[in-house]
């Protein structure tokens, strides 16, 4: 297993390099001028100097290698420095990936935005899992009952209705008509006492519910299918024949075995959630990573977009790896070597 993990980790490096190259090429091929949004009164030679200062004068391969160096060597060194509090080497002259839009290091922007995204996305995924598992278990156990029929329909709806519609619908109902929940996420809110805690809960409620419903719809289908696969197995009959109570059969024997594939689906879904959060953050005006990406795209801030897109790619590769490794650890029938 360790062998396999190491092999996969080593294989992830060329994959990520290729992805970073693709992202770099796409952004570089684009007929796009970063000085395009500057005032028209700036003369052409000044414009050329600005482009030079942004590092665009270098040939393609040098810029790519420089970006790699900044992302893979300089930024991790900075983070380590930050953790240990002691300078490593020549930290002041170390080049960082700098946003063209705000002139500050991209990583600082990301660190600023990360907590909001993690709160909304993480909580929604957790809520989604908590809703999906019981629904999946019950609809599989009572297959074709009214609960199963309704559950199937609701999950089909949750899966089909896009989050940007459910989000707007919730805003129309709960913010516009009923006035119960705020439609804008306030990042400056600090939780100090009970009333501010309730305010935090209220502003989290809608974005979390929108994403949670979407996740729960997919997960509950997987959970149901996985439970159904196991319910007809011989070991379930054996457990019943031994005289175990139905509760033990279901929750100990069947559930634990059914969770194995579901856990991998959960792991595989994490990066997708970050992608889905781009839309949800836009609807509820959460200033998280997704909104940062949209802002960067709108302002043609190439270093920022490059870095963020690449971070999304890292998340996908990393969670694919985790899913495979966890599956191998949980299911003794799976042997990779």
């Amino acid at each position: 297993m360790l062998n396999y993990t190491i092999r996969r980790l080593l294989f992830a490096i060329p994959t990520l390099l290729v992805i970073s190259f693709i992202i770099f090429v796409i952004l570089d091929l684009a007929p796009n001028d970063p000085t395009g949004s500057l005032p028209l009164t700036i003369p052409a030679e000044v414009r050329a100097q600005i482009r030079e200062a942004l590092g665009l004068g270098q040939p393609f391969h040098i810029r790519y290698v420089k970006w790699l160096e900044q992302f893979f060597i300089n930024e991790p060194l900075n983070i380590m420095e930050h953790w240990w509090g002691a300078p490593i080497g020549d930290s002041d002259s170390r080049l960082r990936v700098t946003s063209w839009m705000s002139r500050s290091p991209v990583v600082d922007l990301i660190v600023e935005r990360m907590p909001q995204t993690l709160w909304v996305v993480g909580l929604s995924y957790l809520v989604g899992i908590l809703i999906a598992l019981p629904i999946g278990v019950i609809s599989a156990y009572k297959q074709y009952s009214w609960f199963d029929q309704i559950g199937t329909f609701v999950s089909m709806v949750g899966f089909s209705v896009p989050t940007f519609f459910t989000g707007l619908l919730l805003i129309v109902v709960f913010s516009v008509n009923l006035g119960w929940l705020p439609s804008i996420y306030d990042t400056t809110l600090k939780v100090t006492d009970f009333s501010s805690f309730m305010a935090q809960l209220r502003q989290l409620a809608m974005p979390v519910m929108v994403l949670a419903l979407f996740n729960a719809a997919q997960l509950s289908r997987f959970m149901r299918a996985s439970m159904l696969d196991n319910l007809n197995q011989d070991y379930v009959r054996t457990a019943r024949a031994k005289g175990m109570s139905e509760k033990v059969v279901l929750l100990v024997h069947v559930l634990r075995n059914s969770l194995i594939p579901v856990v991998t689906v959960i792991a595989l879904g994490v990066p997708q959630i970050f992608g889905g959060a781009i839309i949800t953050e836009q609807i509820f005006k959460v200033n998280g990573l997704g909104q940062l990406l949209i802002l960067g795209i709108e302002n043609a801030d190439i270093p920022l977009v490059q870095t963020l897109t690449f971070i999304f790619a890292i998340l996908i590769v990393f969670f694919n790896l985790i899913a495979d490794v966890v599956y191998g650890m949980l299911d003794p029938r799976i042997r990779y070597d």
Partner: protein, 306 residues
């Protein structure tokens, strides 16, 4: 003489059952799928034929009648520039559906091609599957946004504002959604390749492209059909999401996602502007998903036998 002959022929001794007849029979037992077909047909009919009945031009500005609630002349009300919402929803539906179908076809052709090639030719299998894995590891939505943002203007100047963005969106959606189809088709082809009838075909000297087109492709048709339906749903959602983020079609060229995007700022005033396009997207995707569900059951011989 002829008449009596005809009568004899038209009275079969036993009911003739074709494969597609069986599929259709099984499909009809799936209630959700039948309702899905009905709803989808209804939406397509409204979107295609509706503009001939409700003849208001979707881009006609009638500034005196702005932000109207639903009336007889404007069944879905009007927007902040007095454009008729029903006409816009129908016009938007045409674009959204066209994008969905075209992008699905592109991704299907690409996916089936790569899947068949990877499954049939062992030398190419490794390379093509690594390519598929690579595409699966790409962050699709951010990348789509970036590509559209960066290439939109140059394509617009070449093909005109509408055609340019249409080509771009169809192309990027198609090229980033073929991976699942390719994987499924490859798996099927791998299993099929070892079966006796393929070996028999090869032993009588059938050429490779004939084997693929006559024997392999018809047998992988069912997974391709299922991914086709799901592909339409996926493409419609992706296009709406892009338009919703303001990076899809221009606002004078409505699609459902674009209408939602434009309507969301007027939610308090005219909530209908959000609800109708959103409902149209949701119902279309829901019905297509149900059709896909029913098709999967109907095309699966293990389920159909029962």
């Amino acid at each position: 003489m002829t008449d009596t002959n005809m009568n004899i022929v038209s009275e079969p001794l036993h009911e003739h059952r074709s494969l597609w007849g069986d599929v259709w029979r099984q499909f009809r037992t799936h209630k959700g799928a039948v309702v899905g077909v009905a709803v989808f047909t209804f939406i397509v009919l409204v979107v295609v034929l509706g503009p001939f009945i409700h003849t208001i031009d979707p881009t006609f500005l009638d500034i005196r009648n702005k932000n109207l609630a639903p009336t007889l002349a404007h069944p879905m009300g009007t927007d902040n520039l007095g454009r008729d919402m029903l006409a816009q929803v129908m016009a938007g539906g045409q674009v959204s559906m066209l994008v969905g179908v075209t992008a699905m076809l592109l991704s299907l052709v690409l996916g089936a091609f790569i899947g068949v090639i990877a499954g049939y030719f062992k030398i190419l299998d490794g390379v093509l599957m690594r390519l598929t894995d690579l595409f699966l590891a790409l962050p699709i939505l951010p990348l789509l946004l970036v590509i559209i943002m960066l290439f939109r203007d140059s394509l617009r100047s070449v093909f005109g504002p509408e055609t340019g963005i249409f080509i771009l969106i169809v192309f990027v959606i198609g090229i980033t959604s073929w991976m699942q189809t390719a994987r499924i088709v490859r798996g099927e082809v791998l299993a099929l390749k070892e079966q006796e009838f393929i070996i028999a075909a090869r032993s009588i000297g059938t050429r490779r492209h004939r084997i693929i087109s006559r024997h392999i492709l018809p047998n992988v048709l069912s997974p391709i059909l299922v991914s086709a339906t799901l592909g339409i749903a996926n493409a419609i959602i992706t296009e709406s999401a892009l338009s919703f983020l303001g990076l899809g079609f221009p606002s004078d060229f409505p699609t459902w996602g674009r209408l939602l995007f434009d309507g969301k700022d007027f939610m308090q005033l005219t909530p209908a502007r959000v609800i109708w396009p959103g409902l149209a997207i949701s119902l279309t995707v829901l019905s297509v998903n149900y059709i896909g569900d029913g098709l999967r059951d109907a095309l699966d011989p293990r389920i159909r036998g029962r």
